[in-house]
Symmetry: C2
Amino acid sequence: MAAEFDSDIFVNQTAPGEYDARLRPGWVVGGGVNGGYLLATIGNAIRHAVPAKPDPISISAYYLSASVPGPARVLTRVRREGGSVATVAADLLQGDEQRIAALATFGDLAGLPGDVATTAREPDLPDRERCVPNSMAPEDIRRIAPMMERFDMLFHPEQVGWAVGQPSGNGVISVWFRLKDGREPDPISVLAVVDLLPPVTFDLGRPGWAPTLELTAHVRAVPAPGWLKVRHATRNVAGGMFEEDCEVWDATGRLVAQSRQLARLPRRTTATAG
Amino acid sequence: MAAEFDSDIFVNQTAPGEYDARLRPGWVVGGGVNGGYLLATIGNAIRHAVPAKPDPISISAYYLSASVPGPARVLTRVRREGGSVATVAADLLQGDEQRIAALATFGDLAGLPGDVATTAREPDLPDRERCVPNSMAPEDIRRIAPMMERFDMLFHPEQVGWAVGQPSGNGVISVWFRLKDGREPDPISVLAVVDLLPPVTFDLGRPGWAPTLELTAHVRAVPAPGWLKVRHATRNVAGGMFEEDCEVWDATGRLVAQSRQLARLPRRTTATAG
């Protein structure tokens, strides 16, 4: 039996390079379908389009309009395939509305050299039993964010004060993460993981939906099975926008994915969604 | 009289959304034409394609093959224009060879809200007269990198040891920067600036050409006139690749652009290009 995540991102080829998808209501959050889930769905279509290059190495998505649950199409066009990588353009559409325009380079992560000289530091998360699980979220939050039922997310206790009206002001949120039903992480699922946390602006006392303009993810290694550590941070809130950097670390302590998105700041008036 | 930079990135419309460019030999570095100069050329074409949205807010470029000096074409397609931004796909070609596939969102940076709550810190550069100018580079380096004649680049004296075989090992290079002939920075020229420094791997004792797979730049404000401070850093060298983060700060101390690229590590054998 397929894990829930795999059936949620399932795509069905209808013509060369063209795929049908069904965006699930279970991935709704606030004003639309979650952008990470959409990125993983696009990634899954590209994986089918270039089967000899199964893994996302880099993917850049420009979010043009908010997606809604229901049918969608992913149209892919291979721009260059040769050597160890393939670069593919992909569009996600619903009816005549374009939702996302993307470019991606896929390859074989397992075939990369084994050198690791990472100087970034793993998020300093307390043991899981000392963290704050997303299952403690109030009922009204869970109703506007049904996607929270799709995963276990355990918040660093010092970075979740925003949930009780006491944001730290540091602009950092770190969590333990795994998909429900124990589905292990892989290079496609981490494309979702980079955009599943609450906007890091929650920790700055700016709750509310923060629409993504652009998100680029680099997947740097195949994640080991087990819990992931995920860290969001921002350092440049200005001009009505902010960048959100995400790191995904696997159970062996390897930095397996890095992403950055540019998003619009939540409006000051939406002070109730946190 | 146009500044050298503006004539170097000049594009000439040949059909709706289609532009001719001429890639100048003055922007060659090592194995090809500099990727930042190419990004600024593409940005200049997009600016012409959506004149009501004159500034790059985000641009993502996938580098498919090395460009050479000579004629090139930039083909743009508006994917969505509405409200305050336009999203455009653009391809840079030479003959039948695709060099770059890009996506970008353009808008009006001067029209953004004035809030600035940046927590990132400006690079701590000594006064310019205490820094090491690129004009001190040996003749053989200047011959393989003629683009170094296009700008003044003054290196932090503690981050330029790689030039004399003593890299710091920290993976950080910071410089003062301005274009030759005093041409002031603008949102298009900063697209070049994010990829003009030597690869940050020089500071890790890994000299040599580091081909970019993908580069995304976010331009966050119109830069003020004057010298820029530019900082490159990497924190995840692994699997034969590294990410290179760039920050561009203007003369008023504002963080005006952030970029990240994914590049291939230089081969160990090319130990002479530093």
